[in-house]
C-alpha cells in the first residue's frame, strides 16, 4: 500500500515537473519572440519587461490588480475547458461574458431596494442565466446538427456587444448630470456591488472563479458525468450507441459553460464599474480560450496560465501608457504563445504532448 502510494506520488511529481517545465519553456520562447517584435516596432523590450514585472510583481497594488485581471480569465477559461471535454469548441466566451453582464445589470437597476444579502445571490443567478442562455443557443444548434458551435459562438460574439450598446445608448442610458458624456447604465445600488477585499479592487469574483475551477476539476475528474463527458468527447458515435443522449449533454454543458463566462461579466460590471458600459471587456473571452487550449483544460494549468496572462494584460495597459504600444499588441504575445504550443518544437528539452 505504502509502496503504491509512493509510486503514485512519484508519478505525480514527474508529471508536475514535466508540465511545469513545459509552461516555462513556452513562456521563455514567447517572451523572447515578443521582445523581438517590440524591438522591430522601435520600442525598448528590456524596459518594457522591467516596467511590467516591477509593476505587477513588485508592488502590492500592482499585484492586486493582477488578481483582479485574473478573475475574468479564470472564469472564461473554465467556460472553454468544460465543453472541450465533450469535444465542443466554445469560442464565444466574449459574447457570453457580455450577456451575463447584461442580465445582471437588468437585475441591478430593476430591483433597486433589495438588501445586499439578497442582491449578491440574485446577481450571481442572473449573470449565470444570461451567459448560459446565450451559449445554449449554440449548443442547441449543434445538438440538432444544424450549425457547428464554433462558427455560431464566433458570430454571436459580434451580436452580444451590440445588444449592450442598444441598451446603454438607449433606454438604460444614465441621465445623471455629468454622466451623459459617456454612454453607460445608471449606477448600481450600493447593495448590488460585489464586496471587495483588503482595501483593494480584488472582489468576490475571485472566490466565484476559484469555486468554479474547483467544481470543474471535481466534476471532470471525480464524477460519473466527467467520465461520460470524456467518453462522448473521445468517441461520440460509440457514446450514441451506448445510449448516451448527446444532444442533452451538449446543450447542458454549453449552458453551464456560458453561465460561468456570464459570471465573469457580472463580476466585472458589479464589482469594478458599478455600471454597464459598452465594450467593457478587452477580449477576456478570447484569452480564456487561449488559456484553456494552452493548458489542455488542466485545472492547475488554468490557474497558473490565468495568472501569467493577467500579468500580460496589466503589462499591456502599462505599456500603452508608458511606451505607446497599442493595447492590441498583447494579441501578438498571446498568438506567439499559442504558436509555440501548436508548433510543438521537436527539441530534446521540450517535452511535447500530443494533442488529439
Amino acid at each position: 500500500m505504502a509502496r503504491l502510494l509512493r509510486a503514485t506520488v512519484r508519478k505525480m511529481q514527474t508529471g508536475w515537473v514535466i508540465a511545469g517545465r513545459r509552461y516555462v519553456i513556452i513562456l521563455v520562447v514567447a517572451i523572447a519572440a515578443y521582445a523581438a517584435v517590440l524591438l522591430l516596432a522601435g520600442k525598448d523590450p528590456i524596459k518594457a519587461y522591467v516596467d511590467t514585472f516591477s509593476f505587477t510583481l513588485g508592488s502590492s497594488y500592482g499585484f492586486s490588480e493582477v488578481l483582479v485581471r485574473m478573475i475574468p480569465l479564470l472564469l472564461t477559461a473554465v467556460a472553454v475547458a468544460l465543453p472541450s471535454r465533450l469535444g465542443l469548441i466554445n469560442v464565444g466566451g466574449e459574447g457570453q461574458l457580455y450577456m451575463g453582464a447584461w442580465l445582471a445589470t437588468w437585475g441591478a437597476i430593476t430591483f433597486t431596494s433589495l438588501p445586499q444579502a439578497a442582491f449578491v445571490p440574485l446577481l450571481i443567478v442572473l449573470g449565470f442565466l444570461g451567459g448560459g442562455a446565450w451559449a445554449s443557443v449554440a449548443g442547441f444548434f449543434r445538438a440538432r446538427g444544424l450549425v457547428n458551435e464554433t462558427i455560431t459562438t464566433l458570430l454571436m460574439n459580434y451580436i452580444a456587444p451590440l445588444i449592450i450598446g442598444f441598451f446603454v445608448y438607449g433606454s438604460w442610458r444614465s441621465r445623471e448630470i455629468g454622466a451623459s458624456a459617456f454612454p453607460q447604465s445608471p449606477a448600481f445600488p450600493s447593495a448590488a456591488r460585489l464586496p471587495q477585499f483588503f482595501g483593494t479592487r480584488v472582489h468576490l469574483g475571485l472566490v466565484l472563479a476559484l469555486v468554479a475551477l474547483a467544481l470543474y476539476w471535481f466534476v471532470v475528474e471525480r464524477t460519473k458525468w466527467g467520465l461520460k463527458m470524456r467518453a462522448i468527447g473521445g468517441n461520440p458515435e460509440a457514446a450514441r450507441r451506448v445510449g448516451i443522449r448527446l444532444g442533452i449533454y451538449m446543450v447542458t454543458v454549453m449552458f453551464v459553460a456560458g453561465g460561468i463566462a456570464g459570471l465573469a461579466g457580472m463580476a466585472e460590471v458589479s464589482a469594478l464599474f458599478g455600471r454597464l458600459r459598452a465594450g467593457f471587456s478587452p477580449g477576456y473571452g478570447f484569452v480564456g480560450f487561449l488559456i484553456s487550449w494552452l493548458t489542455n483544460g488542466s485545472p492547475l494549468g488554468i490557474l497558473v496560465m490565468s495568472f501569467v496572462l493577467a500579468i500580460v494584460f496589466s503589462g499591456g495597459s502599462l505599456l500603452q501608457i508608458t511606451q505607446g504600444v497599442p493595447f492590441a499588441a498583447i494579441n501578438v504575445l498571446m498568438a506567439i504563445i499559442l504558436l509555440v504550443v501548436l508548433a510543438r518544437p521537436r527539441l530534446a528539452w521540450v517535452p511535447s504532448r500530443r494533442r488529439p
Binding site: V147, L155, L162, F289, A335
Partner: protein, 305 residues
C-alpha cells in the same frame, strides 16, 4: 426617395459584397484542400493595414493592394506551417493566426490612424449615366469590384476544369488517394494556403484602401468569420459564393442606408443584421452541408512521410 434608396442598396450591395467575395473565394480554395482557416479575420486585418500603409506612403493605391495580397499570402504561411508541417489542430491554428493578425495590424496601422487616402479611382458603367432615372453618383465602382465576379469564374475554372484543381480537390476529399496518385499533398496545401491568404489580404485592403479609405483597429468586424460561414452556405462552390457575398453585402448596405435615412430603428439593431443574417442562412442551409463538404475537411493526414 424610394428610388434613391433602392439604387443605393443595389449599388452598395455590389460594393460591400466584393471584398467579401474575395475572402470567401480564398476560403473556398483552402477548404477544398481540406483546411478550415478561421485566421482569415487576422489575414484581412493584415491586408487592410499593410494595404493602407503602403498605399498611403507610396501614393499609389494599387501598390498597396498588391502589397496587401503578398502580405496576406506570406502571413497565411504561418497557418500552413502549423497545419501542414506540424499537423496542428486547424481551428486553434486559425485562431492563433487571428490573434497575430489583430496584434500585428494594430502595430502596423498605429501611425496611420486618422489619416485619409485618395483610394481607388471609380469608373461608372459606360452608358448607365444616360439612363434618366439613375442618379449620377450610383453604380460607379473601382476596378476590384468589377474584377470580383470574373475572379469567381476563374477560381471555378481552376478548381473544376484543370488538373491542378482536380489534385487540390482530391487532397481535400481523400488525401490517401491523392497521395497514391502521386500528388504532393503538402505542396498543394501550401499553394492553397498562399492563394487563400492572397485573396484575404486583397479583401482586407479593398476595405481600407477603397471603401473606408481610413484605417481603424479591428475594422474588418468579423468578415473573416462570416466568410467561413458563407463557404458553408455556398456549399464549397465558388459561383454560389457570389450569391452569398451579395446577400451579405445587401445586409450591410441596408443597414447603412437605413441609418443614413434617419431610420427610427436603433443603429445597434441594424448593425446586428449581417451577423444575424449569416447565422440564419446557415441554419436554413446548414442541414444539407454534410453532403457537400470535402470529406477530409479539418482532418490531419499522417500518411505522407
Amino acid at each position: 426617395m424610394t428610388g434613391d434608396l433602392i439604387q443605393g442598396v443595389v449599388s452598395g450591395t455590389i460594393m460591400y459584397g466584393a471584398p467579401l467575395l474575395y475572402v470567401t473565394l480564398g476560403e473556398v480554395i483552402g477548404q477544398r484542400a481540406g483546411m478550415v482557416n478561421l485566421g482569415l479575420e487576422g489575414i484581412m486585418l493584415i491586408g487592410a493595414s499593410v494595404g493602407f500603409a503602403v498605399a498611403s506612403d507610396s501614393g499609389n493605391p494599387w501598390v498597396g493592394i498588391g502589397a496587401a495580397g503578398v502580405a496576406g499570402a506570406l502571413f497565411n504561411l504561418v497557418y500552413g506551417y502549423l497545419v501542414v508541417n506540424r499537423k496542428a489542430n486547424q481551428l486553434a491554428s486559425g485562431l492563433a493566426v487571428m490573434f497575430l493578425g489583430i496584434g500585428v495590424s494594430a502595430m502596423i496601422g498605429r501611425a496611420y490612424v486618422g489619416k485619409g487616402i485618395a483610394g481607388l479611382v471609380r469608373y461608372q458603367i459606360p452608358g448607365i449615366s444616360n439612363i434618366s432615372w439613375v442618379s449620377k453618383t450610383m453604380f460607379s465602382y473601382d476596378l476590384l469590384v468589377y474584377f470580383a465576379v470574373p475572379i469567381a469564374f476563374v477560381v471555378w475554372w481552376f478548381l473544376f476544369r484543370t488538373r491542378w484543381g482536380l489534385s487540390l480537390r482530391a487532397v481535400g476529399e481523400s488525401p490517401a488517394a491523392a497521395f497514391a496518385a502521386g500528388r504532393r499533398i503538402s505542396w498543394l496545401k501550401y499553394q492553397a494556403a498562399l492563394v487563400c491568404g492572397f485573396l484575404g489580404g486583397v479583401a482586407g485592403a479593398h476595405l481600407s484602401v477603397a471603401l473606408a479609405r481610413t484605417w481603424t483597429e479591428g475594422m474588418t468586424g468579423g468578415r473573416g468569420f462570416i466568410a467561413v460561414a458563407l463557404v458553408i452556405f455556398s456549399k464549397w462552390h465558388p459561383l454560389r459564393a457570389i450569391v452569398g457575398a451579395l446577400l451579405f453585402g445587401g445586409a450591410v448596405t441596408l443597414q447603412l442606408q437605413l441609418q443614413a435615412k434617419g431610420s427610427s430603428i436603433s443603429p445597434f439593431v441594424l448593425n446586428m443584421i449581417p451577423y444575424a443574417l449569416t447565422l440564419g442562412v446557415l441554419l436554413v442551409w446548414g442541414g444539407a452541408r454534410r453532403f457537400a463538404a470535402p470529406a477530409a475537411l479539418g482532418r490531419v493526414y499522417h500518411g505522407e512521410e
